[in-house]
Subunit: 356 residues, 2 copies
DNA sequence: GATCCAACTTACAGCGCTGTAAAGAAGCTG
DNA sequence: CAGCTTCTTTACAGCGCTGTAAGTTGGATC
């Protein structure tokens, strides 16, 4: 009876009170540091000592307190991943790779949404608090390069995305010019001659689509096709609805076109819907190419041909660079290009299959 | 000149060295605690003192060190959100609401992917380390209720999802039985008589679809429709591909059906593709209802009618309950139901519009 | 057997902040 | 103006861990 109640007391104590390193040390009859060494698999610990300590750890159910560790080491083991929207297909897919690559390197990821909001983006850089994360991977959409350069704080930073970036920070992207050109080439190879670009977004101050637009133009010139400003469609905002509206407007205005290259899969999805609604066949009448190669496009009808950044490589590269910065690497910002390809599906099939 | 270099030195000092509370206190000529009080807007501080301290804070560019704060207070201000896959449309959309609701309550969110992996799920609960987060919102898919109950640790926990949950933890879900019944009713109202359920997944040990299947059956019985086991389709895994294959198999086997209710939008998307590939018209020949009301379904062709859990309410409720637990609320697990609705679109339109 | 070395282990001072208790200041009361 | 109360401010001991420097031990060396 009394034995039982003692046992209960013991058990309760084990789950109620948080066990500290010092408690383990006392039970094992060693110093705190030795326990710490066991926990960290420090090599110079005799097997006997290790066993003794491990026994005490197990008995007490000791769990290291991360916060204390962080305070002592100055490292948090966490990185922030700051993106516009976590539920945008491209970013949610990218998040997954970032999380996986981070976990491989012993980091945890704190996802920070900026919601296309300037002040939220600024908050990412001019953090009110310090010591939360060891580094930041940031995909800006509203901040200008100079803003970023100015606000740049002491925490290691890697930038993502196609907009112009300050030369003071590391940056990873795909070759957007080449990618857009590849898309145009693919359409040209199918015999398309009136290729549209969708699209510019009113108030998109970052000029993030500039490079894609540039590649689009290069692709046309390369094929000796005329540059028709009417074929550059604009949308009021970034949603598929806005994109669909832009395509409807273009159709209504009677401008002829037989191909569209879109700034992202969301835009392409909107375009597909607008075209279908107007009775325009894809790809027979108009071929459509998306951008980002997301699930949204893979399961669109028809399945979307899309420019496909190597997201895994993107994530791995960003983490690699960030890791180097965290490890103390100094120096001017480095720019890295990761590979891209064209995922060819029904909306803009390869030549062989387009012989309708 | 010398003035300039002094300034530079000062500036450098400001960005190089991390400023501590004690530094601010020294400059302001007050105690550390007073600075802390100013930082925290503690009421009993004279305006003059506040001004003086604020000046020092601004001059030195002081940023509180979160880690130290955490160690001292025992609170991290972070919660973990543990889900199978961050790039699953339902979870990425839910993540967004969780992040927003958390931010409203002063919490940051650490997203943890379990990748449908049992050991990863166990790791979520039996955390190796303590003091990382104040609480956990967890959507299990592999763990059994008893496992969860056993491994349940000291950190506050709120469970999400439709599987059976231990009575020892808080739980938020929609009424899956009612929702499935609503879906069937909608189809029946359109005159559908051979309604399929897609689908069971081989090896889905959680029985997470049980309730949806139950509601499906109730809906059929309610309409005096026979229960045909052949109309419950099975898939080997959770992807749209698997779902499409399951539908193709059903079509090939010649079982007649004129409606499908799917376990999620991904399955519905796969079904739409399989049907289209077989020349079956949606909704004319077969009406399709999805589940989760995600962007994937909203932009499918045809646009997907889908059972729509109120994701914002779900997130808010989970955070509310978790917050109460973090604030010390004890007692048995509470179960909360949040509302759902049916988002009616083209794949299973309302009666009026179905008169082809 | 004294000396030295390498392999282990320990003691303890921080990491930067907050909670507590207690001191100091200022305003009231009779 | 002593005696109280209330409002501000201070001093300092932790929070739990790790890095450093200083032991301790056992064995190899001459």
């Amino acid at each position: 009876m009394s034995k039982n109640s003692f046992r209960l007391g013991r058990t309760e104590e084990m789950r109620m009170k948080k066990v500290r390193l010092a408690d383990v040390a006392k039970v094992a009859g060693v110093s705190m540091k030795t326990v710490s060494n066991v926990v960290h698999d420090y090599p110079h610990v005799t097997p006997e000592m290790r066993r003794k300590v491990q026994l005490a750890i197990d008995e007490l159910g000791y769990k290291p307190n991360l916060t204390a560790r962080r305070l002592a080491t100055g490292r948090t083991g966490m990185i922030a991943f700051a993106i516009p929207e976590i539920d945008h297909p491209y970013f949610s897919e990218l998040s997954r790779y970032i999380a996986e690559e981070a976990s491989l390197r012993g980091y945890r990821v704190l996802v920070e949404q900026t919601l296309n909001n300037l002040s939220a983006e600024q908050a990412v850089l001019s953090d009110r608090e310090a010591g939360l994360v060891d580094g930041v991977i940031f995909h800006p959409v509203r901040m200008q390069p100079m803003d970023i350069a100015m606000l740049r704080r002491d925490v290691p930073l890697v930038l993502l995305g196609e907009s112009t970036m300050p030369v003071t920070a590391d940056h990873v992207m795909i070759d957007n010019v080449a990618a857009a050109r590849d898309g145009v080439r693919h359409l040209v190879r199918q015999g398309r001659r009136r290729i549209a670009f969708l699209g510019l977004v009113a108030g998109d101050i970052t000029g993030s689509t500039d490079q894609r637009l540039l590649g689009y133009q290069q692709g046309l010139l390369e094929a000796n096709l005329p540059l028709d400003p009417q074929l550059v469609f604009s949308a009021p905002d970034f949603s598929p609805e806005d994109s669909a509206a832009a395509v409807r407007r273009a159709l209504a205005s009677g401008i002829p076109f037989d191909g569209i290259i879109c700034r992202d899969d969301r835009f392409a999805t909107g375009a597909l819907h607008a075209l279908r609604g107007a009775g325009v066949r894809v790809p027979e009448d108009v071929a459509v190419i998306g951008w980002d190669d997301t699930e949204l496009g893979r399961w669109a009808t028809p399945r979307l041909t899309s420019i496909s950044p190597d997201k895994r490589e993107l994530a791995a590269t960003a983490l690699e660079m960030l890791g180097e910065r965290i490890d103390g690497l100094q120096g001017i910002g480095r720019h890295r290009i990761v590979s891209h390809s064209l995922s060819i599906r029904e909306s803009a099939p390869a030549e062989a299959s387009v012989l309708m």
